[in-house]
Symmetry: C2
Subunit: 320 residues, 2 copies
Amino acid sequence: MNQTGSQATAPTILVIGTGAIGGFYGGKLAQAGARVSVVARSDYSVVKERGLSIQSPSGDFRFVPEHVLREPGDLPGMPDTILVATKVLPEQPVTDLIRPVVGPETSIFLIQNGIEIEAPMAEAFPRNEILRGLAFIAASRIGPGLIHHYDYGRLTLGRYPGGPSPRATTLGALLESVGVPCVVTEDVVAASWQKLVWNAPFNPISVLAGGADTAAILASEETARLVPLVMEEVCRTAAALGHPLPPSVIDQNIEGTKVMVPYKTSMLLDFEARRPMEVEAILGNGVRAARRAGAPIPHMETLYALLQLIDRRNRSAGRD
Amino acid sequence: MNQTGSQATAPTILVIGTGAIGGFYGGKLAQAGARVSVVARSDYSVVKERGLSIQSPSGDFRFVPEHVLREPGDLPGMPDTILVATKVLPEQPVTDLIRPVVGPETSIFLIQNGIEIEAPMAEAFPRNEILRGLAFIAASRIGPGLIHHYDYGRLTLGRYPGGPSPRATTLGALLESVGVPCVVTEDVVAASWQKLVWNAPFNPISVLAGGADTAAILASEETARLVPLVMEEVCRTAAALGHPLPPSVIDQNIEGTKVMVPYKTSMLLDFEARRPMEVEAILGNGVRAARRAGAPIPHMETLYALLQLIDRRNRSAGRD
């Protein structure tokens, strides 16, 4: 593995999205010596002028990107890695956006929510390496160029659809070198199903139950009963698709949530701010995968139907 | 059947609740010649002074009760029939309230929403006849003593748990005599399951999907798919409990809803007004009945868990 630090050998990374994920992991990679540029939209002028500020319990830090761009195509040259850290919304495909800077050696690294979100990218860039990262982090963008990292930060990453990746190893080592725990896996798809075990119940229920945090969901008898039923459906689907998860995963997720500080899910935060929710990435893709695999998922289907409609209504309300 | 009209032979009816149901059916029974008194709470002074006004497409009318009471016990004597037309909320049992006026010959007639709501009444008054009415009506209380009847009005009624009832026949004939279509049945429990076929999907979904009327629910692919799945679970439960419903009931309910004017369910109206919803009467009792019968009802359970929690949050918000 290369030692980083010299400009000549440092990997070049272009971050798409200056929200919590892009700001935190991009900033950490820069801290580790990578040459990190960002594409900023609404935050452009603030980030261009001052960079990003990350407040973190492990030490506040500033992230001054090498280049702050309005469009990926403004980057001089092709980056080694494009780190995609946007929300996954069907109406905002990232493939066309990044096409101008996808060189033959460029890896596309998705640190995003959801299941089966890699496929469109793999289809658009069949010769490029697709990496997927699964962030276990509590962080949010609290203002233009301003990110608050509350807790955690662990990243699981690997090559899609599977196998070893020297570049994933390098990125993991860079992040580890600045205190971000990383797990490099050769089966990142299983890891993404494992993450869905938590996301599939808690994200939708938090919204549909009228704005419930994790503690409220687990405190109510019937929703506490519903959570593991949804988790079982995710496990059943993953197994049917060739990614069996360890049977302990359900208990671990529930027990782990019980000891967490009561937590509002990302969907709930989006809902409350009348932003589009990642309904399709988190739940719709899971439902379609289950239907393809012939796995019965009545609880997930119920959540999905409700969530789709409430998201649509929430978006129109947001436009009023 | 008695001819009504003379004070001597006219049945005496005490209506509990001066909302849309109590006002409309109480008023119609008075119109038909019954001696109808009412127990009014928040509307007491208005109803005492002016009676109830019912605006109806079939003709506005005024309902001046024989007695307007604050408490059932204020009624002189025991009524032939107590018409209970309150919302069914676990924290507001009606049994204790009416006990002072339940004579040996008194029938207790529940025109209320929900499934298996008769049991507590039958337990409290094991020697009295319990009647159940299922109203198919669009009506709401729009102000103190003021009721708007929009459409429909058909009533299915019968003795609980089953069998013939001369008093149900009399009440049905009275209502028919003033233009309210009535069906007197000897299996009112099956009729109440049949009503739940509609209520179990549309009421919860309307609230959980963010305030959707019937048309919005049927226009969205995934919720339109969810509706018949919930209906099947209701049919399965009813059958398991010895009340098989005709197989056509699902299609009929869906097709019937498609041709109705887009309609906000009673639960949605309650939710929007931050009033308690009839979660237990409509959904909780159905879920418990299914569990007792061993019928799998994953879609209903999901709706129930979400609805219970959102109702709890909505009630606290209403108190703020």
